[in-house]
């Protein structure tokens, strides 16, 4: 069906191969095997099918191409360079070097044309599922008969390793259920992995596996046979009701003396083998970074094709804009990630009604209020929606027959949920949120990390955030999860104390365009904070603020807390107020607080005040950042237990009583220290502007 020039195909394929291994050789680091083996399949896809415009990598209706096997990055860079993306030969020469656009694994945002940050196996596959969901959802919402304005394929290339990872099964099951007909997976089945043949641990019948999950299976086809690969892709594109996988039997390290050996997977071939490979592939053995002009010209054809494709689409968009002007405007704004003007107004004033409420319930209300204003806020839970309060009321569930649904049933698949959310955010046009119990954030660490690394606006609704979960016991009670999430660079973690702070947290998360946010929410009702007498919850936007202080001026003691421990901290503060000037600080977000100017931070936590107690129903580790060596932490440094929540808070000593006891102890120590300290002359004291002995 194509006007085929087999010789030219082979020339181009071998040019890609040689360029890829040159990258690896120049860096003296990297993965030559997969690029050599995958080149024909990747070439076939890019040459015959992929609709993309190298001059405008952000064209919204481009086909998406995800290289889940991110270690084959050299092949992707060779493709991007030769098809005309803004990726120079110098960048290729700088493969894997400081400051280059050609890092070891593809990084989204750094390199034009890279759709997703990949490398950790299985992630890219699930990202692609998310992208295909976004496409299907937007198409269902915006297309009209004769106006298929959102209409593109999502292609993903995976390796054996990708398909061994559990997340790939989880995501595949959902993709099959959702009938993502425009999702096509090219499986580079080379049968070799680092420890040897996949026969040793991956003899699965892949076709049968994917069929069991409602996919259409094509192949196996010969990885060197462009026509066969193309035919399989044509067939896959013809299947509208199911996602498709094309099994491509390839040869890792093809053309090199190390072909079909694990040795060529992750180490440079060496100069001698590079020369031998080039010879075998019909290229000059000694010319590095050389591409035969005929091959280069052919691959550069993508520029002209891409411009034409985009122009054709632009014409359709223009027409669409005339017929549906509002929708066109909304679609483009959505795709730019813009929220509708005045969306913040959806949230009632941050200070709530002062009634006790579980922050998960407050979150569900905030979500539903926001969802009315932002009709492309979509998401769901890993089978805990009623507990996470993540359902958008009166909206359909996303399904093959309801692709416009805004509630997504992920099933008990936290890992895929996180990775699919990344794909939704990477595609654009929707703002994804996902929920589960905080403990089970452990199942989805990798996608959270990648969201942070890629700067994706994904909102995590993590409920049941402590021993307050109660009877389900230690397996379900998070202890270390809060600290573990705070440890992820670029992830904003917010643990609000009441309905007011919860609304602020949601607002912050949505306003944060370039990074993910984790909302950490209680199962149990948190006691009411009377905001008329306390600082406004609006201040939570700064991450930390003075909630209350018993006296004026510099406090003697500071109590810090987040979430459900704020009210007990306040109670402890009130109890100690007779003895000292006590300040209570709400610290819902370390990230946000640490980003405040130094003088603001000093105004909340004056450096000179060292009597500090933190209370939080989680690991105490980490709180030393705020209480130092002289402070104390009422935290939990063991696993939880199964019992009603109230009993647990008692037994684990993370309430008002413990906070007050620790505070009183610090005040006593401080008094002793003062008494023991040498008294300097009065004038010096006055000059220093503070009581001697403090600090």
């Amino acid at each position: 069906m194509f006007s085929v020039n087999a010789k030219l195909d082979q020339l181009a394929i071998n040019a890609l191969r040689c360029l890829a291994i040159d990258l690896v050789q120049a860096a003296n680091s990297g993965h030559p095997g997969a690029p050599l083996g995958m080149a024909p399949a990747a070439y076939t896809l890019w040459d015959r099918f992929l609709r993309h415009n190298p001059r405008d990598p952000h064209w919204v209706n481009r086909d998406r191409f995800v290289l889940s096997a991110g270690h084959a990055s050299a092949l992707l860079y060779a493709l991007l360079h030769l098809t005309g993306y803004d990726l120079s030969l110098d960048e290729l020469r700088n493969f894997r070097q400081w400051g280059s656009k050609t890092p070891g694994h593809p990084e989204r945002g750094l390199t034009p044309g890279v759709e997703a940050t990949t490398g950790p196996l299985g992630q890219g596959f699930a990202n692609a599922v998310g992208m295909a969901v976004a496409e299907k959802w937007l198409a269902a919402r915006f297309n009209h008969p004769g106006h298929d304005i959102v209409d593109h394929f999502t292609y993903v290339m995976v390796s054996d390793g990708d398909l061994e990872e559990g997340v790939s099964y989880e995501a595949a099951s959902l993709a099959g259920r959702w009938g993502l007909g425009k999702l096509i997976c090219l499986y580079d089945c080379n049968g070799i992995q680092i420890e040897g043949s996949t026969h040793t641990n991956f003899p699965d019948d892949i076709g049968r596996r994917f069929q069991s999950m409602n996919w259409d299976v094509h192949g196996p086809v010969d990885g060197e046979n462009v026509a066969a690969i193309a035919d399989a892709i044509v067939a896959a594109r013809g299947v509208a009701e199911h996602p498709s996988i094309v099994i491509v039997k390839s040869s890792i390290g093809y053309g090199s003396p190390l072909a079909d050996c694990p040795a060529c997977h992750g180490a440079p071939l060496g100069a001698e083998n590079v020369a031998k490979t080039k010879e075998k592939l019909g290229q000059p053995a000694t010319a590095a970074f050389f591409t035969p002009e005929e091959a280069a010209a052919h691959l550069r054809g993508a520029v002209e094709r891409g411009a034409k494709e985009q122009a054709r689409w632009q014409t359709r968009l223009d027409y669409y804009g005339k017929v549906f002007p509002d929708m066109a405007k909304r679609l483009l704004a959505q795709l730019r990630g813009e929220l509708p003007a005045g969306w913040e107004a959806a949230l009632s004033g941050g200070d709530g009604d002062g009634k006790p409420v579980a922050t998960r319930v407050a979150s569900g209300r905030a979500l539903n209020a926001l969802a009315k204003k932002i009709d492309f806020l979509i998401g769901g839970s890993a089978d805990l929606a009623p507990s996470n309060n993540t359902e958008i009321k009166n909206e359909d569930f996303f399904a093959d027959d309801k692709p416009w649904g805004r509630n997504i049933h992920f099933g008990v698949r936290e890992h895929a949920m996180g990775a699919i959310a990344n794909g939704l955010a990477l595609h654009g046009g929707v703002v994804p949120y996902v929920g589960t119990f905080l403990t089970f954030a452990d199942y989805m660490r990798e996608p959270i990390r990648l969201a942070a690394m890629s700067g994706l606006r994904v909102i995590y609704v993590f409920t049941h955030d402590s021993i307050g979960l109660g009877e389900d016991g230690p397996t379900h009670q998070p202890i270390e999860q809060l600290l573990s999430l705070r440890a992820i660079p670029g992830l904003c973690v917010i643990r609000p104390a009441d309905a007011g702070e919860t609304a602020v947290a949601w607002r912050t998360a949505l306003a944060r365009e370039n990074g993910p946010t984790a909302l950490i929410l209680t199962r149990q009702a948190t006691p009411a904070l009377d905001r008329r007498k306390l600082a406004s919850a609006e201040q939570a936007a700064r991450g930390g603020y003075v909630l209350w202080q018993s006296g004026e001026g510099r406090p003697d003691l500071i109590l810090l807390a987040s979430g459900s421990e704020l009210a007990p901290a306040l109670a402890a503060g009130e109890r100690l107020a007779a003895e000292a000037n006590v300040r209570v600080v709400s610290l819902p977000s370390w990230d946000l607080f640490d980003a405040q100017p130094a003088d603001y931070r000093e105004s909340v936590l004056p450096e000179a005040v060292r009597a500090r107690v933190a209370v939080e129903a989680g690991r105490s580790l980490g709180w030393e950042r705020y209480v130092g060596l002289d402070g104390a932490v009422a935290g939990i440094d063991r696993f939880g237990a199964s019992a009603p929540a109230a009993r647990l808070f008692e037994e684990f000593h993370v309430g008002a009583a413990q906070a007050a006891a620790l505070g009183a102890d610090l005040l006593k120590r401080r008094a002793r220290k003062r008494a023991a300290a040498p008294r300097p002359p009065a004038q010096l004291d006055a000059a220093a502007g503070k009581p001697a002995g403090e600090g």
Copy 2:
């Protein structure tokens, strides 16, 4: 094939059901649905097949039964109670209460007869795979013709949710490859989950899925039909070459007015519905915790059967002991978890040869030395063995045709690897270790957590522990992982600095019988530490120690570091020695150090010395625990980058230069503070025994 009394079966099944829902009702918390639905299958297994001795839950050759669907705990407790385990009716009445032996989800070690801590879905299934591996491995090593001394089945009950989780696919793929014929999975397929019907997100063809992974599939059978379930289990037991899954179509909440509704999954039925259920099941509607005597007597038959089974095995063991006395002794010692006498001698003296070496290489040497002494140390890597240095040389790989192999090819399946390692440790008779890159510890957080919670001796070999990984870039460079692991209660994290400390770390990990240990190891060679001039690496066993100090007495400045940053810290210390009395502290393990007596900790980190600098190529967060508000941390608080390692250490400022600069700065601040401080009378100064102004 059984002498069947169908009426008695039904009576016993309904007794289990009624008892289970009474537990939930009494606790006013829990999961009645699964117990009601699963009871016939569980009963059939326990009554007809399970070889166990309620009076000796530790009988080493018992069949293992894992309830992967841990939320059905009420059913398990009912079974344990009624079959004669040491679990009283009072304990059942205290379901989910503080201090009871009947927590919300089964906890290993707390309740006799509970084989694994389950609840986080998918884990128990993978644990069972590990148990079946242990059985197969021990049988291959110890059995002789006519002496099947290790010979038991492993049964696991799973729910829909278990099979949705990716870890279940990963583990199933391996179980199929390994031909674990004595692993039998009962799949409680009730088609209902919290968010509704599984049709919405789990319409997979389970039979086909498991067939694609080399399992034998039985059923679907009617979940109410004891004979059909028994027949399927008989068939499954007859398949020696493949693991088997029995698909049991059950009805969640069977017998209750909420049958087949999500509402009965995770909330008590309510008194009225409990009464109606009992009526339907032919039990007195109002009697709580009542078991008809006929049913109780029948179920208690397990005690006599179990005693006989164990006695029969004991006879076989006695005979085995006569024919193979050494092996019998070794087998029993192994099963008790005892290491061979003098195993520590395998490790050369902790102080190494002083040559630069990557700690992953040192670890590989330690492992191989230990493996010679401890021939039941088995494990492997998630397809990174050559990089993790986790291969035991000259030993076979574990496979269906080599079940005695000690090297396990897990494939790119970190999650299952962790959970299977837990299963190996739970079974006993082997000491498991597993390896991957430190970054990918994120894929296996849940099993690490459960190992810590369950007190399992599992050793994690996490290599490529920082930006020192180099060119592979940020996706592969751990930043937050070290802190995230330190956050897990009960997990011992050790990041050794050189070959000597690495040997100590391995020794510590093996000696630690009741908990997991994570070894955090470099990819790159760490500079030699000349232990003749420095403290002995043996001190690493205390978690932290003074490596070196420039002067005598109390230091002016303390530099702290772990792993590859210790040598740079030492270099910084030497650079600053001209200005001040500088101490360098090696802190390979926070856990071990924090567990030391207070006076030892004070001797290493004197409270009065506040000029402290920590250097570590990971998140700085957490180090405030040791440096306080007055110290400084040279850490990395963003994601890494792709470049050669040396360049990265330069760019990220986590070397000697930064440590020296921060140290110099603190010394300056200290000098300024001293100068500004009021000078007390000389005699007071002398009395305090230290320079004024310090502290």
